[in-house]
């Protein structure tokens, strides 16, 4: 019965296992002998001469899925057909439309009418693929379903519970900013400002403001932040002069390296402040931050030493946690290391 056949595009996602379990169960319950098609669309074009890394990963993943399905079906294994395929090798897949074309083509050739999507299926990385992909597949005449599996909460939700207070705070600050920039208090500006602020706060009040603010702590932080800004500006100017010297020097004496270290800051806002400060200070550029782990690209040995001496980090800790926290050991003392040292150990 072709109607029960399912097409499942797969990629290495956190909910993949559950999605496989769901379709396996569904196929086992169906009448006849439905076939499950697991397809892996590869995004990079693979030339016949060499197997790309992605293709290897795809085949491994598909093999794993076959094992999972067998596991899930148990005795029903005979009543369900499983087919796996790597598709899209001959073209580059860039956008949801490309993925939909490849999948629809596969579905047509195998007579599948229903596509089950893993809710975390997102081979494109950052951009959300799922909603447009759903639309494109439906336009191609397929039935699309999302696998009803629970997603693990990897990140805190974008919207938070917020009360009237947050709305008022956001509305007032937006309104004040609007009036400040317009520079007049004419009726027109008052009216348009109120409308603009209203729209902005209505849309964003659950996103921009977070939770209760402890006023007592906030005051201290703001005061210390006011001290931090001149320090940061001074650091920026000093380091900028260094960079100007290096860049204008005829021999271009640079020595770029990637440094990794675990910063001694413990929550989102301090980490963001530190990352941005590192990037602002010339000679160092935050490449990636995962929790507390900073990956920093540094242009010169001097900039690197400054970074690992931890003056900035200490200052950020001072702003957010007060004076005592400023006296933690510097990244260098805690064993941060640069790329070349790591390489040296591997050799």
């Amino acid at each position: 019965m072709a109607g029960d056949d399912l097409l499942v595009p797969v990629d290495d996602s956190v909910t993949l296992r559950k999605t496989v379990a769901y379709v396996a169960e569904r196929a086992a319950d169906a009448d006849g002998r439905p076939t499950l098609h697991f397809v892996y669309p590869v995004s990079e074009r693979i030339d016949t001469s060499e197997e790309g890394a992605e293709a290897t990963a795809a085949v491994e993943l598909l093999d794993r899925i076959e094992v999972w399905v067998e596991e899930d079906l148990g005795e029903d294994a005979d009543s369900v057909g499983v087919e796996t395929a790597v598709v899209g090798q001959t073209e580059y897949l860039f956008n949801p439309g490309d993925y939909a074309d490849v999948l629809a083509d596969y579905a047509r050739r195998h007579g599948v009418e229903t596509v089950v999507l893993d809710p975390e299926y997102n081979p494109l990385g950052m951009a959300p693929l799922l909603p447009p992909l759903e639309g494109e597949l439906e336009a191609a005449g397929l039935t699309v379903e999302l696998a009803p599996v629970e997603r693990p909460t990897r990140r805190s939700p974008l919207t938070r519970t917020a009360g009237l207070g947050q709305f008022v705070v956001l509305f007032c600050s937006t309104y004040a900013f609007y009036l400040l920039v317009s520079g007049t208090l004419s009726t027109f500006d008052l009216a348009t400002g109120a409308i603009t602020a209203g729209v902005v706060s209505a849309l964003l009040w659950r996103i921009t403001t977070r939770g209760e603010v402890e006023l007592s702590k906030l005051g201290g932080r703001l005061a210390r932040f006011a001290l931090y800004v001149p320090f940061l500006l001074w650091e920026i100017v000093k380091a900028n002069l260094d960079i100007a010297y290096v860049v204008l020097h005829p021999r271009l004496p640079i020595d770029p390296r990637v440094v990794e270290f675990d910063a001694a800051v413990w929550s989102a806002l301090p980490a963001t402040t530190l990352a941005n400060s590192i990037t602002l200070t010339p000679g160092t550029l935050t490449v990636d931050v995962t929790q507390r782990h900073f990956t920093v690209h540094s242009l010169t040995a001097g900039a690197r030493d400054d970074l690992l001496d931890g003056a900035l980090e200490r200052a950020v800790r001072f702003v957010f946690y007060g004076r005592r926290a400023a006296r933690i050991a510097s990244p260098a003392e805690r064993g941060a290391r640069t790329d070349d040292e790591t390489e040296g150990e591997n050799e």
Binding site: G125, L180, V181, G183, I236, V237, A239, N240, I243, A244, V247, L248, L252, I254, D255, P256, R257, V258, A275, N276, S277, T279, L280, T281, P282, G283, L285, T286, V287, D288, T295, H297, L299, D339, D340
Partner: protein, 105 residues
């Protein structure tokens, strides 16, 4: 020249200098990461100095407040953009250029 004019001149000159450094850096540095250094940081300071000159020229005026706000926003958005570029480069697997590139490794 009044002290204020001197201050404005100095700031504009400084701003132009760092903008120049940013441009030279963009041309001379070897790879995407180092160029991001050159383009984002010196530029931030250059534009910051120029805007400071604007603020001083206008004195205590609404325009100065706006210039100060612009500086603030630039200091927040520029590192963010630089970070985005560097991270995108890293995601694409671009290896940072190093000085021991030509060595016998």
């Amino acid at each position: 020249m009044t002290p204020r004019e001197i201050a404005v001149l100095a700031l504009v000159a400084g701003g132009a200098f760092f903008a120049f450094v940013a441009a030279v850096g963009l041309l001379r540095l070897p790879d995407v990461y180092t160029r991001t250094h050159g383009a984002s940081k010196s530029d931030t300071l250059g534009a910051g100095l120029a805007l400071a000159a604007v603020a001083i020229t206008f004195g205590f005026d609404l325009s100065s407040v706006k210039a100060a706000l612009l500086v603030l926003f630039m200091f927040i958005t520029n590192p963010t953009a630089a970070h985005a570029i560097a991270r995108a480069a890293e995601d694409q697997g671009i290896e940072p250029w190093t000085t021991d590139e030509g060595d016998s490794e």
